[in-house]
Amino acid sequence: MARNITYREALNEALTQEMERDESVIVMGEDNAGGEGAPGEHDAWGGVLGVTKGLYHKFPGRVLDTPISESAFIGAAIGAATAGMRPVAELMFVDFMGVCFDQIYNQAAKFRYMFGGKAVTPVVIRTMYGAGLRAAAQHSQCLYPLFTHIPGLKVVLPATPYDAKGMLIQAIRDNDPVIFFEHKALYDTAGPVPEESYTVPFGEANVVREGGDVTIVTLGRMVHTSLDAAAQLAASGVECEVVDLRTTSPLDEDTVLESVEGTGRVVVVDEAHPRCSIATDISALIAQKAFGALQAPIEMVNAPHTPVPFSSALEDCYIPDAQRVVNAVKTVTGWTR
């Protein structure tokens, strides 16, 4: 039975159901329970934004708090994965990747290939990304393009509670390292989610809105921004097709190209910085493989190439909003040679 729950609850449910089903699933990270070694309550936090709350008591010994040593515990999760566990480690903010990236991109990502196919590394690294909470430059980045660039990593960004649960279950069951991106501004959003366990495959983009005039390719929180823009545009008769990539690696090229063949006009909306982003990656893909279908140059909507500013006034300018998407759509629909 599907009922409305939040993105956060959907993640918690995915973890609970998988930990019930499979003993080898363990959770680790900073304050994933909270209160370790302290005189007060255990499971005091359940994760800094509450995603893992309740698991500590439900699964004794399988939810491990860690010292603040990302390279040690992310590496430990990876090592444990090679030894038959299915760890779900939390890199609290993706901004912290710098202190543990080696373990992710030189170790986990490469074991399967480097060891001639003789290693499996079924680790999931959950991490928060994105601006909007005034958390400033070092707690608000996207950075998924950096991970997408690394062969051997799967990079997934669910935009809805339904996708969050299904994709986290899929990630846990996947035998490759999966970097699981959760936008901090989506935790409280709600949507229909089946009570039962289910999976959403990787490498399958989702056409969340059909339309014949413009293709909007997007991901993560920007899916909602794009849908807002599409609703506005529909009022003036422009029908947008919104394609949620869901996973940047593996990438569903076919759905993107199919949509472009149908509309001939493309806007790519990506919260990451403009250089070497998913927007540039998708644009190159389309320009190379669907050039003949294009009726106008591809428009990209990105955050600016600056660190994320703190002040509300500035952060609101920084994050791409529906108006910018509307403007981009108008540019491609109004373009003439």
Binding site: S71, A72, M85, D102, Q103, L251
Partner: protein, 328 residues
């Protein structure tokens, strides 16, 4: 330094095993040294000759439940943990028949079926992984122990220090082996390690620290035995510092102008194989004939490994895209 006088009695089988391991490593490395000079081996190799007693002394205390992680100087650890010598040589030559089908090379030889988590091209890459395998062993109750080998260079890497702390905080069945061969690349450990000994750092993490003459098999074996038993029984990690020297350069091709003549001295006076042989023949635990027989057998094995490797097929373009999902 621990004294070698107080030693547990090793059986004849164990002594033969120890000698076999060390001699295999020595012959393997010496041979690779010679072959590399011909230009036929691609990339980099980092040779373990001189350090055999560490790998042998530690791994003789381990079994298939146990995991080790190694460094870029990993051939010795691989051999001591039971990785197939022929497959190793083929891997170094980049052949399809290699341990990693030619995709890893010298620095990434691994065999997870033998608990060998791999040589590692990243200094300090191993210790966090070992925390993971130790965690897995603890949760699954296998009784397995995980051993992280790292060098004096690696001992300064943040990942290593974090791992030692984490292993102590989580009370993991782990052992940390700092192989101090005097140099991190061309930089002396006497300079780069701030404390007098790497083992002194153990106190900072709340675990025992032990200093061992790395040229003495019996000393390395004994120190490892105690630490591994402690870990297996739930007593937590230990840091063991092996002090010795490497006979070759950081990598093959290193002119080693930063060194004096310590290698000649070590080969002549300190060599682990010479000392082992002298000791076991003196006590008549093994005979010279036993050792000679092993020498001959191993010599032939290495010869065969090299011949086979040179004759083995290279991977093809089709192999390029296997073992990682590819959609592009």
């Amino acid at each position: 330094m621990t004294d070698t006088l107080e030693r547990k009695t090793l059986t004849r089988e164990q002594l033969l095993d120890a000698y076999r391991t060390m001699r295999t490593i020595r012959e393997f490395e010496e041979r690779v040294h010679r072959e590399f000079a011909t230009g036929e081996i691609p990339g980099f190799v980092h040779l373990y000759a001189g350090e055999e007693a560490s790998a042998a002394g530690v791994c003789l205390n381990l079994d298939d439940r146990d995991t080790i992680a190694s460094t870029h100087r990993g051939h010795g650890h691989c051999i001591a943990k039971g990785v197939d010598v022929g497959e190793m040589m083929a891997e170094i030559y980049g052949r399809r028949t290699g341990s990693c089908h030619g995709k890893g090379g010298s620095m990434h030889i691994a065999d997870l079926s033998k608990g060998m988590l791999g040589a590692n091209g990243i200094v300090g890459g191993g210790p966090p992984l070992i925390c993971g395998t130790a965690l897995a062993a603890k949760i699954k109750g296998t009784g397995g122990v995980s051993v992280a080998f790292f060098g004096d260079g690696g001992s300064n890497q943040g990942t290593t220090l974090e791992s030692m702390n984490l292993a102590c905080v989580w009370n993991l069945p782990a052992v940390f082996i700092a192989e101090n061969n005097g140099y991190a690349e061309s930089t002396a450990s006497a300079w780069s390690v701030a404390s007098d000994n790497i083992a002194d750092r153990a106190a900072g993490f709340g675990m025992p620290g032990v200093i061992v003459d790395g040229f003495d098999f019996f000393a390395t074996y004994e120190a490892a035995r105690e630490a591994i038993a402690r870990a297996r029984q739930g007593g937590g990690p230990t840091l063991i510092e092996m002090k010795f020297t490497r006979y070759f350069g950081h990598f093959e091709g290193d002119q080693q102008t930063y060194r004096a003549d310590e290698v000649a001295h070590a080969r002549a006076e300190l060599d682990c194989l010479e000392r082992f042989a002298a000791r076991v023949t003196e006590t008549a635990e093994l005979s010279r004939a036993d050792l000679d027989a092993l020498d001959a057998e191993i010599g032939a094995e290495i010869d065969k490994a090299v011949d086979d490797a040179k004759a083995a097929p290279l991977p093809t373009e089709a192999d390029l895209l296997t073992d990682v999902y590819v959609r592009y």
